[in-house]
Structures are given as structure tokens and as C-alpha cells.
């Protein structure tokens, strides 16, 4: 019979080998899809943070020189020059000695008075002829007085004449520059105080994605029934709410409660004998663990220019609710549902958690935060003789929060 089979195998049948080969689905090295998902998740988070950094309005006004040169249009500058030349000519003609001695008003920080003579006189209720400010000499004359009166001021902050003219074209800016430095600072300080007093508490909604390590251990003498090597973790998902309270020196206390879905896959096979035939049965089984957790954490927040960093650690309690369980007691025997369920269904773990996050406030109330968290738990409820099962999740999260 074998000869016959061999004879047939050697028959030189003509067929299109290449066409068949092209139609065969060849398995390729499978990329770790979870890795890509993580990558996408991180990219989205980074993009969101980048967007927020660039577009959010800070609560605290910045002490930066307003960029003016680019905002002023060329025709406006020309008109300004003309007006100033006319004004200068008028001043030369009137040649009042009292007016030529007038020192220009200077902002204590070193910013010169950017108002045109006409505007300034209009505010003071005098005519341009009465003030007679020489705009071209204003800066040099103002410098010594400015230094003497305001120690904070320094010559480096003085603007060139061209810039000066351009700045003068913006009336709103002139008003800003006219206000005194002390006044500005006092407003800012008030704002900072208000902000800190009013936003100590926050509530956030968190979405997590990650994976976990499954750890089966036997405290009894028997062989571990639930096998580590059969159960392969898959992607986990979670949702939680988080309350935070900022303590002194940027320490913070937080409490959170959430739900997580952990999934494991078991892919294995059994060889069964039916009659004279051996049959291979492939299994792809899934375990789902619904975990409800609550935790309390203590942490520290570090502020940087555009964002903040959080480092937190704490303890929590979680309850496992197992909705689907499939285990092999050995390579051949599938454990009964009840047999395994009794081992740790509805078990409770105490866990230690640690997380690091980076966040950004936007607007007056809202913030976004992303980071990673890891938990390590201790099974509380399983009897000593029964195999224990622990889930050690590692996940990354994105959090949207509101301060109040």
C-alpha cells in the first residue's frame, strides 16, 4: 500500500506551481499590535499636549516684551513719521525752554513712554506745543533719571528709535506701557493668590490602556494547578474617576475609584483518541476579569513653565469579579469552571500603586494629564491551600480634569 502511495507521489503531473504558491497565505512575523496601539496612544497624547501648550491662554499674564514690530503695518509707520516731523518742526518754531527740559515719562521697568506727543498731551489736557517733547532725544535723556528712580530698570530694556515709533502706532499698547510696574505686579500677585486658593480641589476622568502580568502561585504543597505559561495577557482597558486636593508645598492627596477589564487568552491543544484515530483539538479560550478598585495616594506636584509633573504613590483595594474562566489543570485536562472559580472569584487584593504623570492646565478650570501607572497586589481572600492568582497591571492613561 505504501508502494502504491509512493508511486502516486512520484507521478509527474503538470501544474502551475507558481500560481498555487501565490495563492497561499504565508504567515509573516506578527508584529505586536499592542505595541502599535501604545504608540498611537502616546502620539495622540503628545499631540494633544502640544496643541494645548501652543493654544491655551495662561491665567497669569506673561512679563514679556510684546512683539510689536511685526504687527505694525508699513503705511502706519510712515504716517507716524510724518506726524512726528511736523510736530518737531512746530517745536523748533515755538522753542520754549521750559518744555525742552521736560523729561519724558518712563515706565519704571525701563520701558520708555511710548505715547506720541499728541496723545500724551491729549491725556494731560495740554496742547502739543506746550509739552514740546523731542522724541528723538527722549530715550537718552530718560535713561539717567530712570536708573536713579527705579533700581530694577536697566538700559538693556530700552528700545531703539525705530521700534519706538512702531510701538507708538498701537494705542492699546501705549496704555499698557503707561501703567506702572508696581500696579501690574500687584494685579498679578492677586491673580496667583486667587488661583491657588480657588483651585485646590480637582475632579478628573481617566481612561487607561495597558497590559498586565498574571501571577499564579501555590502556597500549598500541591503542584500549581493554574498555569502561568498558558495564560497570555491581552490589552486591558479601564475607566476611573479621581479626586485630588492640593496640600501645602504642592503636595497632594488623591482618591480614585474605577473599573478595569483585564483579559487573558489561552491558546493550547489537546490530543484526543477516538477509536484508532488521534484527534487534535485546538482551544482558544478567554478569561475576563472585571476589577473594581479604589485607592488613596499621596504625591508631589512640580510646576514647570508650561506644564506640571506629578509623582504619586499609594495603596488601594480591588475586587475581582470573574466573568469567564477557562484553565487547564494540566496539559490534558481542562479544569471545571467551578473548580477554578472557587479559587479566587470575588477575591480582594490590597495593592500598592505608583504613577508618574505630566499635565497641562488650560483655561481657568481644566487640565489634561497623561502618564503611566503600575500596581502590585497582595491577595487577601484566597485560602492558604488554594492557588493564588494576582494581576499586576501596567498601564498608561489620559486624564481630563476640572479644578474647583
Amino acid at each position: 500500500m505504501k508502494n502504491l502511495s509512493d508511486k502516486f507521489d512520484r507521478l509527474p503531473q503538470e501544474f502551475d506551481r507558481e500560481a498555487i504558491w501565490e495563492g497561499i497565505k504565508k504567515p509573516k512575523r506578527q508584529s505586536n499590535y499592542s505595541f502599535y496601539l501604545w504608540g498611537i496612544f502616546l502620539c495622540i497624547s503628545s499631540a494633544a499636549l502640544f496643541f494645548l501648550f501652543n493654544h491655551s491662554n495662561n491665567i497669569i499674564p506673561k512679563h514679556e516684551e510684546p512683539s510689536t514690530t511685526k504687527q505694525v503695518k508699513a503705511p502706519e509707520i510712515k504716517t507716524l513719521f510724518k506726524a512726528q516731523e511736523e510736530e518737531q518742526n512746530a517745536l523748533v518754531e515755538s522753542s520754549s525752554p521750559q518744555k525742552s527740559d521736560d523729561a519724558p515719562a518712563v515706565v519704571p521697568s525701563g520701558r520708555t513712554n511710548k505715547k506720541s506727543g499728541a496723545e500724551k498731551n491729549a491725556i494731560a489736557g495740554t496742547s502739543p506745543g506746550e509739552t514740546g517733547i523731542d522724541l528723538f532725544e527722549k530715550i537718552t535723556r530718560a535713561e539717567p533719571q530712570d536708573k536713579a528712580n527705579h533700581p530694577k530698570a536697566h538700559p538693556g530694556t530700552f528700545l531703539s528709535k525705530d521700534t519706538e515709533y512702531e510701538i507708538e502706532a498701537l494705542p492699546s499698547l501705549s496704555i499698557y506701557l503707561n501703567s506702572s510696574e508696581e500696579k501690574t505686579w500687584s494685579i498679578q500677585n492677586e491673580k496667583i493668590t486667587v488661583e491657588r486658593k480657588g483651585t485646590r480641589q480637582s475632579l478628573a476622568f481617566r481612561a487607561t490602556i495597558g497590559t498586565h502580568f498574571s501571577d499564579f502561585s501555590s502556597s500549598g504543597k500541591e503542584e500549581p494547578a493554574l498555569r502561568n505559561d498558558l495564560e497570555k495577557p491581552q490589552l486591558d482597558f479601564g475607566l476611573s474617576f479621581r479626586y485630588e486636593y492640593i496640600l501645602r508645598q504642592n503636595f497632594m492627596l488623591s482618591a480614585s475609584a474605577g473599573y478595569h477589564l483585564y483579559k487573558d487568552k489561552i491558546a493550547t491543544a489537546q490530543i484526543r483518541k477516538s477509536g484508532n484515530q488521534f484527534e487534535r483539538v485546538d482551544y482558544k479560550l478567554y478569561n475576563h476579569y472585571h476589577v473594581f478598585s479604589g485607592q488613596v495616594e499621596l504625591g508631589k506636584r512640580f510646576y514647570q513653565r508650561a506644564f506640571f509633573w506629578d509623582v504619586q504613590g499609594g495603596v488601594g483595594l480591588k475586587f475581582h469579579q470573574v466573568s469567564e474562566l477557562n484553565y487547564f489543570v494540566s496539559e490534558k485536562e481542562l479544569a471545571s469552571m467551578e473548580q477554578v472559580k472557587n479559587a479566587y472569584q470575588n477575591s480582594a487584593d490590597v495593592f500598592f500603586t505608583t504613577q508618574a504623570a505630566i499635565g497641562k492646565h488650560f483655561g481657568n478650570r481644566y487640565f489634561i494629564r497623561t502618564g503611566s501607572q503600575i500596581n502590585a497586589g497582595i491577595d487577601l481572600t484566597s485560602p492558604q491551600a488554594v492557588n493564588r492568582h494576582r494581576i499586576i497591571p501596567i498601564n498608561i492613561f489620559v486624564e481630563l480634569g476640572m479644578r474647583f
Binding site: 500500500m1 506551481r17 484515530q277
Partner: protein, 185 residues
């Protein structure tokens, strides 16, 4: 083309998804599998379809192959035979249970060993798909009636009847052929 020293090395390379190894495995076994599947379908187009499906399964489940239980050729052939039988079932060539027909069961063995493979193939092509499949399984692949019954979800007697019927037809054809030969000579 890369050469592989042993079957095991070839399998290991395929498990590492090396295209050269996959191609080598295909080249090594495609002729035998083509001939095997063709015996069931007797149609070149269907055979090519089944081979594509069969080799896809081979590559997919190669991780389950255990060399201690048998050779790679046997394992691959088994997969292809299953694919061929699935194909026959799909194409409404259902294998039905047949009642006992004792007259058919008493058939003396046919001396295939003395015949050319091409001629046997020609004879097999003349059988109907069900008889042909069971004849192939029992007489050429060496499956027992119990295994055939399991494989095709029929009872053992039905398997025997199908085989007997195929043998009877073949015997008649062989006798006619031999008579024709002697007449020519």
C-alpha cells in the same frame, strides 16, 4: 535556494517565518500533495484551489506539528486529505450511510501493485467522487474503516460498502482492460 539539512531544521525555519524555508517546504511537498489531492478531485483546477488552502493551513498550524508522532509528509498529507474531503462535502458530494449489501462486501483483492500508477489513476478517475474518496483513503492512504467512518461521519458499514462498490467497478475495468490487452497481443 537555501538548503535545509533536515526536516526539523526546515520546520524550525518555517516557524521563524523565513520565506526561503516556506518556499523550500512548498517545493519539497507540492508534487506529492498535488498527486494526492488530484486522486480525490480528478480536476486540476479544484486541486490547485485545495492545495492553496492546504498549504495555508500547513503554514498556519505548523507550530502544532510533532515529529515524534510521524513524519512531516504524513502530517502535510493528512491536512491536504482533510481539505480535499471538506471540498467534496462542500460540493454536495455528501457521504451518506448505506445499508448492508453483503453481496458487495465479498470482493477479492485487486492486484494494484502490478499496475502502472498512471493506469490506476485513470481507473480511479472513472469512479464517482464518493467511491473514489473512500477507495483512496482505504486502499492508498491506508486508513481503517473506523477512521474513515469518523472522518466522513458515516458508519463503518457504509465505508465498507463504498469501498466494495469501488473495487467492483475497478475489477470490471481491469478485467476488461486485460482482456483487451490479450486480444491485441
Amino acid at each position: 535556494m537555501q538548503k535545509f539539512e533536515s526536516e526539523k531544521e526546515l520546520v524550525l525555519a518555517c516557524l521563524k517565518y523565513k520565506p526561503a524555508a516556506q518556499r523550500a517546504l512548498y517545493d519539497q511537498y507540492v508534487q506529492a500533495m498535488y498527486n494526492t489531492v488530484y486522486r480525490y478531485t480528478c480536476n486540476h483546477h479544484d486541486t490547485q484551489d485545495i492545495l492553496q488552502n492546504g498549504f495555508t493551513r500547513v503554514f498556519k498550524y505548523l507550530k502544532n506539528y510533532n515529529d515524534e508522532k510521524g513524519g512531516l509528509l504524513t502530517w502535510i498529507r493528512k491536512i491536504h486529505i482533510r481539505c480535499a474531503l471538506d471540498f467534496l462535502k462542500k460540493n454536495q458530494n455528501c457521504f451518506e450511510n448505506i445499508g448492508d449489501t453483503p453481496a458487495l462486501l465479498v470482493i477479492s483483492p485487486v492486484a494494484y501493485e502490478n499496475l502502472e500508477a498512471e493506469y490506476i489513476l485513470e481507473l480511479i478517475e472513472g469512479l464517482n467522487p464518493r467511491d473514489r474518496a473512500i477507495f483512496n483513503l482505504h486502499q492508498i492512504e491506508g486508513y481503517s474503516h473506523e477512521e474513515i467512518a469518523d472522518l466522513l461521519s458515516i458508519n463503518i458499514n457504509s465505508s465498507r460498502v463504498y469501498l466494495a462498490r469501488a473495487k467492483k467497478i475497478l475489477r470490471e475495468k481491469i478485467t476488461a482492460y486485460q482482456a483487451q490487452l490479450s486480444f491485441v497481443q
